[in-house]
Amino acid sequence: MVVAMEVDSESNLLQRKQSLYHSLDESFEMGKEVYRGQQYSQIYYARLHLMRTLLYSLLPNWKPQLPVCTVLGLEEGKECIIVGTLYKHMKLKPSVLDEYSKERSAAPLVQRHNFTHPDDNLVLEDESGRVKLSGSVLLPSTYVTGMIAALHGKETSAGDFLVEDVLEAGLPQQIERPIVLGEDKYVVFISGLSVGRSTSNPLQFQLFVDHITGHLGDVKEQNIAAQIVQVVIAGNSVEVPHGLLNGQNLGSKDQSRLFEPIKELDILLTQIAASIPLDIMPGSSDPANFALPQQPLHRCLFPGSSAYNTFRSCTNPHCFELDNIRFLGTSGQNIDDLGKYSEANSSIEFMERTLRWRHLAPTAPNTLGCYPFTDKDPFYVETCPHVYFVGNQDKFETRLIKGSEGQMVRLICIPRFADTGVAVVLNIRNLECHTLSFATQIHS
């Protein structure tokens, strides 16, 4: 009879929809990079070179009448355009030296979540030199170190450069989005699972797993679940007890405590991978490297789920195409760092800025850990994605932005699931977004 039941349930089993996946992570993968003591200057040089070529190409359409100067070639009172890297001089920027200097102990050493200050000022530099920027057009609070822009203005008698207008790189070219997509297909984004945290609620994640794998709910709900073609886990999946890691050898009990969250995650991921293609990205709390681009979590961490062809351990940032829709996203470090060194009303605004600056992580390597690349800047956004997502934010936000050349980008802030119980679902047919929220508080 058990067999009979299985048979009759199989007869009306829904088929999960499929879509074509194409990984574009190569640029974020560390191939043969070897650290030979190189400094970070090369990454700035590569960035400036790339962006300046791009900005120069835009200048004829912007202000064709104006001459282009280098910093060294500036003349007082002469209007011109200069292109270079912004440096933001910040009073509150934490310096490791502060902790050791006695004279400056007046400055508070407490950890702040934002280091901006009204006195912050910007400096533009290129290979030839640097010049202090002034004027009200360029707000220091909006910009960060490492961003590259073209500035229109003139040198004042004080030696400052009075900025009259700013040109940012703008949204890059976008590949054509397939216009006719017949059917709804969903991509689910989730981040900040924090498995192993004392306050995390595994039941919530289990409900999530059960929903997307088609266990939960009636036929109608399972119909929705069957249209999910991809799950993306955007970082911070586990929270290992860092207190255990003190440089000493671990006892076996501590080792198992350290490993237990990862094992639990593996069991849950196995349930997802057995049903849906799954991309997992490393995040700041995951057992991966610290410096961006974070390399894929090792498959050995997930002996169960990595056995599936649906399981992909990806880099952070992560870029892929699904049915010719291009996705680009990070686990949130880049946006979090912007939040520390600049100001905006919401995370989504930071996201929009990074896209318009054509750079995923302008603050790397200044305040954001980053590998010292010598020949490239992997965070330069060459092609505009259709979907740009960032994990581990405080709350769900989404916005559809349009570029000057008809680009359309869906921006998504994925909230931390462990805190909010919210995952984000995107319909790749029309780039519409909705949330999936879970509550387990049973009022008794």
Partner: protein
Amino acid sequence: MANDMETLGILDEIQALVSDKLQVVSYKWLSRNFLVSSDSAKRLLQEFVEKQGNDFEVVYSLSGWLKTSPSTYHIRLVSAPNLAEAKKEFSDDCSVQVYSVQACIPKDPVALWNAEFVQAEELFRLPLSVDNCLLDNRFCGVSNPFVKRNGGGTIPSTTTVPQVKSAALGLRKSNSTALAQPDQKKVQLPSPSASLPSSHVVDTKSESRGTSGPGQGSKLAAEKDKVAQLPAAKKAVQSDKSSAKNGGALANMWGRVSTKPKADSVAAATSDATPNPAGNAAQICTPEGVEDRVSDDDDQQVSIRRTSNGEGNRKRRVIFDFSDEEDEFKDAVNLASPDPPKQKSILGSKQSPSTLELEKQEVKKAKEAGTKNHEREREPLPTSESEKSKLSSSEMISEHASLKNATIKDEMADAAPVSPKRRKVLKTRIDERGREVTEVVWEGEDGETNADSNTMKKADNKPVKSTGDRPPMAKKSPALASTAPTRQAGKEGNKKTGNKDPKQGNILSFFKKA
């Protein structure tokens, strides 16, 4: 309809689980446990709630679009009294289904998840080469034929393992029939579960339970105890038995017999030296482990010593057929055997075992209670697994028993040219899950390594701290073996080691080495 009968059976079981064992029965747990689809499981729970929902607390899962924020698909769990109110927040076509039934609503909702996760963990620990309902997600409502899974690199070894184990199963069966003494039958009576291929734990436990059962003369009980110990030990060595079969030649057996006791005592010693705080089940599943534990308190030692006393005639009887497990058995006894002065008391205890027997009963009862939950948890699983033709049930047994090490299946050391004299060698390595695994490897024959490592794995199913102890002990076994080339001598050697505390033996061997 047959369906109805089956359904009723399941419903009764649900009731038993919820009311007697206070377990949370969620639809997913039910589905995995009785191998029905999730949807059927939900229907079953619904039926159960309709029939006797008043006696239990029901948690519903409520899902649908929220009225207040239409772009949110919300899924929440609610208790029955709050269901109507919660429904108002959802748009009209929301889905309401039974999520779980339980005796009372837990304060921490995570408690709903525990039973399910324990189950998932158990399924997860099964060998990765074989699909189970966790790994292929077969009970969900949405199928994805494009999902492929490879065995995770363990395929080559796992294909060989079941064969060995099924051989072990066959042997075990034949053994138990050969053993078929009236005593043993009686022993098995009180616990029908022992006949099920559930686990080592269950078997050993139930048998010992049988011995301590009421209405049996103390002397008889004492006699029976021997018997009970014997099969227990036998099961422990079933894999060794199979290896013996594989080995074939009787000469091989003899050759090995002489060396084996040492190695085994070593094995037991290690498990003794590493008390495992976590594992009731995990640890008990090695009979050596059991007896080690038992030897911790004096009352229990008596019973074991008694078996060692009775060993003489038994040995004579089975010597040719079961020389191996006989050895093993004797070995286990020797392990537990105490200092010489105490051995005298054995005689006394045999003549008037009643008081001791009583004490022992108490201890055993306590133990029984301790493992009871565990047994129950597992009992249903074998039935579920019986469907899988790929696995022999004996594999299931060992897998269940050794929860922690289900997937340790790497290849053993290469086969050296077969020689009649083989040695057990302890090898420590890091397995694919990053745990430290110490295995006993037969140097000299390949086929046995798997089986042996099986028993060993049980012994050290947790990464063991005291692995530092092991290398010296491994050294010890060949050394002692050479002094005891014949079976008789081997026995003597056993006694020697038996007289000492296992740990002392270690120290001694350390000095020998030096």
